[in-house]
């Protein structure tokens, strides 16, 4: 690969979009040519700095509420197009009576469906904990990017040993840990970063069987929940859902 080609492929290389062959040719050229290496490093630093300072506009909470409200009724409307009743006399009453019964049943079902489940209430708690940790500026009790510092810090403070993994190489650097209180018990909270976003990962022992990740959104925050090897995991952040999904996968959910 020539110096000119290196210039042409700079962005594609930076974005990891070159195919294996071109990418290794690029690597080799950088090893051999100090001028291009310096140029690439300068460019990569510049790019990372600009990207890190690029604002991410999060949707206002009011917009999300409005959308949720709109999504539900418009779906209902579609199948509840009023139908004209051609039944005469008593049949009309019979139809009306059975309709009333159906409505009553529906109302009951909706009530049951609306009742927040234990898991939903826990999800709310997780979001509240996350917000609290950011508001009170009380993210970490042990501030360290080293998993070997964070893990021993929990010893003696919890009745279980949380697995502490640093995912810096995957773009989720560990920045610390702290104790938190969820689901009526003390839990481990690990704090990770994704660009300027903070991810809180809560974990504690759970009798539940292993489960695949479930994603949900509450008040604009994304959550992923899964159970693995008798540990419950809840990841919460304002980072986009696909990044959080990736985070869960990198943790081996």
């Amino acid at each position: 690969m020539s110096c000119q080609q290196v210039g042409e492929f700079l962005d594609a290389y930076l974005d990891k979009e070159l195919d294996v062959v071109a990418s290794s040719q690029f690597d080799r050229h950088l090893l051999e040519c100090s001028a291009c290496r310096a140029k690439y490093e300068r460019y990569a630093q510049m790019h990372e700095s600009v990207r890190a300072h690029m604002e991410y506009f999060r949707a206002p909470a009011a917009l999300e509420q409005k959308l949720r409200a709109q999504v539900s009724p418009s779906v209902r409307l579609q199948s509840e197009v009023p139908r004209r009743n051609w039944f005469p006399g008593w049949r009309q009453w019979a139809v009306a009576a059975s309709l009333a019964a159906v409505l009553l049943l529906t109302a009951l079902l909706v009530q049951i469906a609306r009742r927040p489940s234990a898991s939903d209430m826990l999800a709310q708690q997780v979001v509240s904990s996350h917000i609290r940790s950011l508001l009170a500026n009380h993210l970490s009790d042990v501030i360290s990017t080293d998993q070997h510092t964070v893990k021993p810090w929990f010893a003696g403070k919890l009745d279980f040993a949380p697995a502490v993994e640093d995912l810096a190489s995957k773009g989720f650097p560990l920045i610390g840990g702290r104790l938190d209180y969820l689901d009526n018990r003390t839990v481990a909270a690990l704090v990770y970063k994704r660009r300027q976003h903070t991810i809180n990962l809560f974990l504690w022992p759970s009798p539940e069987p292993d489960s695949t990740p479930r994603t949900l959104t509450i008040r604009g925050y994304n959550l992923v929940h899964w159970t693995h090897a008798h540990m419950a995991f809840w990841a919460v952040s304002d980072v986009n859902a696909s990044d959080l999904g990736q985070f869960a996968r990198d943790l081996g959910s």
């Binding site: 700079l10 962005d11 140029k39 600009v50 917009l63 959308l67 779906v75 859902a241």
Partner: protein, 180 residues
């Protein structure tokens, strides 16, 4: 029975598409450059997505699907509001290449804060702003971007290069000399 089907469709929409609200809003906010129009566009885009949700096959990338709806709405909005345009109009090819940039220039770029970056971004043409948001903030692959913007893969690559060069050149101008 009907209720069950209805609920699953609604739940499915809430589970697969609604989580990308922030992605949708972020793109619309950058492309319209104001909160009010961004909210309107996102709201309209979600309703449109809901209406055509039956054509969406499960397993497809919901974020890419939603973002293509949002960017198309923004594109229409942009055509109607073109008069507000204050973007740069220059030939980047005639500008110095990276190798010729001075150290003070690159330092200015590296030290640029969020506000300066936003100002510079807002001066980029629509297509360049769009592709940078999809790449730098949504971190989408060239292939995903090609699908959303509906352009060939090769164009994605050259457009990203151009857009970055424009942005970095704008940022490398000392303050007050942004009038290019």
């Amino acid at each position: 029975m009907a209720k069950e089907v209805r609920n699953t469709r609604q739940e499915l929409f809430e589970e697969t598409v609604l989580p990308y609200l922030n992605s949708a809003y972020n793109l619309a906010r950058w492309l319209t450059r104001n909160q009010h129009d961004a909210e309107d566009i996102v709201q309209e885009a979600f309703l449109r997505a809901l209406r055509s949700f039956d054509t969406f096959t499960i397993g497809r990338d919901a974020r890419a699907w939603l973002l293509s709806i949002v960017r198309n709405s923004c594109r229409t909005w942009h055509r109607q509001n073109r008069s507000r345009e204050t973007t740069v109009d220059w030939d980047v090819d005639s500008q110095p290449t990276l190798a010729e940039w001075s150290d003070p220039q690159t330092l200015l770029i590296k030290n640029a804060n969020s506000e300066l970056i936003r100002e510079a971004m807002e001066r980029l043409p629509f297509e360049h702003r769009e592709i940078l948001i999809l790449r730098e903030l949504e971190e989408l692959s060239y292939k995903e971007i090609a699908q959303i913007v509906d352009i060939p893969l090769g164009t994605v690559m050259s457009r990203i290069s151009r857009a970055r060069k424009e942005l970095y050149l704008l940022l490398s101008q000392p303050k007050g000399e942004l009038a290019l």
